[in-house]
């Protein structure tokens, strides 16, 4: 899970942080990752498809992928000197059967110190 202040970074899908002022804008930052499933998990998932329900291995995969995408986005923002990424959005595209691209993007900003 992504911590609220990963390395003191603030991440939010709001356009503002209550009580804080934006002092600098750095533009759009993004992070993405393409993930495919493990063959063994794939076989298990297709068995699981007979009875239906949650495919836990895929849930974990997507979770890890999102964490990774957010982490990359934050790395880019950090390198610019930002201390927050606001207005974060996610997009997911399945590229091939069992492979998906997960994208996180947002606006890198600097908030005033509290």
């Amino acid at each position: 899970m992504t911590e609220g202040r990963t390395g003191s970074m603030i991440v939010s899908n709001l356009e503002l942080i209550p009580g804080r002022r934006i002092v600098a804008h750095y533009g759009i930052v993004q992070g993405s990752t393409v993930r495919a499933k493990h063959v063994g998990k794939d076989i298990f998932a297709s068995l699981k498809n007979i009875v239906g329900g949650e495919l836990k291995s895929y849930t974990e995969l997507m979770q890890e992928a999102r964490d990774e995408a957010v982490e990359r986005m934050l790395a880019e923002a950090r390198s610019m000197g930002a201390n927050a990424v606001l207005n974060v959005r996610f997009a997911t595209t399945s590229i091939a059967v069992g492979a998906a691209e997960i994208l996180a993007y947002g606006s890198a900003v600097r908030l005033d110190e509290q």
Binding site: S12, L14, P18, I50, G53, M62, T92, G98
Partner: protein, 174 residues
Amino acid sequence: MADLIQLGVFVALLVVGYFAGSMIERQHYASIRKREQEYRDVLAFMVRFPFDRTTPQRAFLVYGTVVVSADYFKTFIAGLRNLFGGRFRSYETLMERARREALLRLKAEARRKGSKMVVCVRFETTTIASGWAPAMEVFAYGTALVPDDGSLRLPDPRDGVSRLLGDGLVRPRS
């Protein structure tokens, strides 16, 4: 003979899919209802902005995700249904379960990090696999708020803001 075996396997899969599938669905619904009660104190809102924008609050992104698949029986029924069109009831419950589960996981993460209010909740749905083994991902994300002074300011239902509250994300408190 080989045809007969194939047919037998197909029917067996249908039967297993039907019984195991409905059992899993019932259990899942029971678990969802139970946890919705448990997480009643964590409020989720569709509104884009916090109700109180002036008090300094800690804000952070939270999300919940779930990948679900239909059982063999549901997939088969949906295949038949495709010929005639109309409502895919079997898939409707599947997606509903997934949405509620994703929202619950979002609330769970918010609570684990000390927040009781999530605003700007958005849902996103992705097809991960289709055809005979369909799998869908439902992803819910939002911004969890923790007021610095510890007080949680809720909107007054008498002011206009309550009209903006969204889509059953706030479940009745009684």
